[in-house]
């Protein structure tokens, strides 16, 4: 039996209106953006002649193995949770493997949900690692490692395949972490980090990469990534003897559960204003959709994981992994909307942290 973190249900399971992507798009295109109080993202990037956004060299293939998760985090842009049954099949995984063998991308980034909950996760990692990809990332929520006996050996499995572990940790204090990610998440995450450290992950000079992801726990933007990393390193080392390599500060995008939270807490307009005011044109140049292709659990292709959650498939004749063609895909315009302000605020934001 999987030990679940005390939680709510996903928006989808609650039949929440915001679970519908069309409703999210409607919210993002109306209100303060329709009245002209704030400029649309397209208008903003036109100011610096960056519209339409086009891909640069492809560096990252990000594969979403499914929306199932043992947590229901308050800010989750995937609306993941135990009640989500969308899981990548072996057939789609095989199609991904065929692409991994030929792609020019140097990084493979597995995400979810909790990717480890896909029953074919280990087989997929074993097969993908044979392709000799340079940087092989698994985005682990940490608590999965402690959720059930069948996951206890995940750290060793990661080590065997030299997987680069990237894990969420919104704060070094229990209260802030549990408020965003669920009661008990902090203690389990600490234990999982200690286990990863024990086999060499995250230690200075170690080739076993362990990075943390920081998401603000509310309607505010992340502060300076380096300053946050320094604080996290000091606090986690002092209190729990935990080591890690880098901290990625990621801005919460106004979609899915975080959008629901922004509206319910009456923070939506102020948050969008903060994003627009912090707009940084130099972040646009390196925004992650310019070097990433996102693949959904059912094989569709997207400019990024956020566009995937908004069901904005790539504007290309190639839209599915089954007829993947990198050259054709790279010759496309990237689909943008107001949520993209989340990736261009301040020092910018991506799955690899700041970009500017």
């Amino acid at each position: 039996m999987l030990e679940e973190i005390p939680m709510k249900k996903s928006l989808k399971a609650r039949n929440n209106d915001i679970a519908k992507t069309a409703r999210q798009m409607e919210i993002l295109s109306s209100g303060i953006f329709a009245t002209g109080e704030l400029p649309t993202f397209a208008a903003k990037i036109k100011e610096t002649h960056q519209f339409p956004l086009r891909p640069n060299k492809l560096e990252i293939l990000q594969i979403n193995l499914g929306y199932m998760c043992n947590q229901v985090c308050g800010h989750c842009h995937v609306d993941a949770g135990p009640d989500r049954k969308e899981i990548m099949t072996v057939e789609t995984m095989q199609q991904c493997l065929d692409v991994i063998k030929t792609t020019e991308a140097h990084t493979l980034d597995l995400t979810g949900g909790a990717p480890e909950m896909n029953p074919n996760f280990r087989w997929f990692v074993e097969e993908a690692s044979k392709a000799g990809i340079k940087d092989f990332i698994v985005r682990s929520n940490l608590t999965i490692i402690r959720a059930n006996k069948k996951y206890y050996d995940l750290p060793e499995f990661f080590k065997k395949h030299n997987v680069h572990v990237v894990s969420s940790m919104p704060h070094w204090t229990r209260g802030k972490t549990d408020k965003q990610r669920g009661d008990g998440v902090f203690d389990k995450s600490i234990k999982a980090l200690q286990e990863l450290n024990a086999i060499g992950y995250g230690l200075e000079g170690s080739g076993l990469k362990l990075d943390l992801v920081y998401n603000p726990s509310g309607a505010f933007l992340p502060g300076d990534q380096q300053a946050l990393e320094n604080d996290f390193k000091k606090e986690l080392k002092t209190a729990f003897n935990i080591d890690f390599h880098s901290l990625f500060a990621i801005t919460n995008l106004p979609i899915s559960r975080f959008l629901d939270y922004l509206i319910a807490s009456d923070n939506y307009e102020e948050y969008m204003t903060s994003l627009v005011e912090a707009y940084n044109p130099s972040a646009v140049t390196n925004v992650m959709c310019t070097n990433t292709i996102s693949i959904s659990w059912d094989g569709w292709l997207y400019d990024c994981d956020f566009n995937q959650m908004l069901n904005l498939k790539v504007a290309s004749t190639v839209k599915h992994i089954s007829n993947y063609n990198e050259a054709k895909l790279q010759d496309r315009n990237i689909i943008t909307n107001q949520h993209c302000y989340g990736c261009t605020a301040g020092a910018g934001s991506s799955c690899q942290g700041v970009v500017a």
Binding site: H171, W172, T173, K176, Y214, P216, G218, F220, L221, P222, G223, D224, A227, L228, D231, F232, T273, E277
Partner: protein, 111 residues
């Protein structure tokens, strides 16, 4: 025009101060920006000082701004509250220390 003396949305218009006096306004914002850069004190320490002063000055705009700034920097609510107590202690101490003046005056006037 708002019917209230304070409107939270006015904070966003702060930069418009430069409209009616660009030279002085810009000098102020340049100075302001420089003050909050990392220096002998960290930007984090300066944010906490600003939060405490925002309270002693009872400026609602500054309180909103530096509460948000603190959260962005990962400052905890316990740290923010302690900073405010520092401001409150100085404010009440400043009131009370004037009691010495009262005592001096009483001693001078009374036979």
């Amino acid at each position: 025009m708002s019917k209230n003396y304070y409107d939270a949305a006015d904070l966003r218009k702060f930069s418009k101060i430069t409209d009616w006096s660009p030279e002085l306004g810009n000098k102020f914002f340049d100075y302001y920006g420089k003050v909050f850069e990392e220096g002998a004190l960290t930007a984090r320490e300066k944010s906490l000082i600003a939060l405490a002063v925002a309270h002693t000055e009872q400026c609602p705009y500054c309180i909103d701004a530096y509460t948000k700034d603190g959260l962005q920097r990962g400052i905890t609510k316990e740290q923010m509250m302690e900073a405010i107590h520092v401001g409150a202690a100085i404010k009440s101490g400043a009131t009370l220390v004037h009691g010495v003046q009262m005592m001096n005056k009483v001693d001078k006037l009374e036979m």
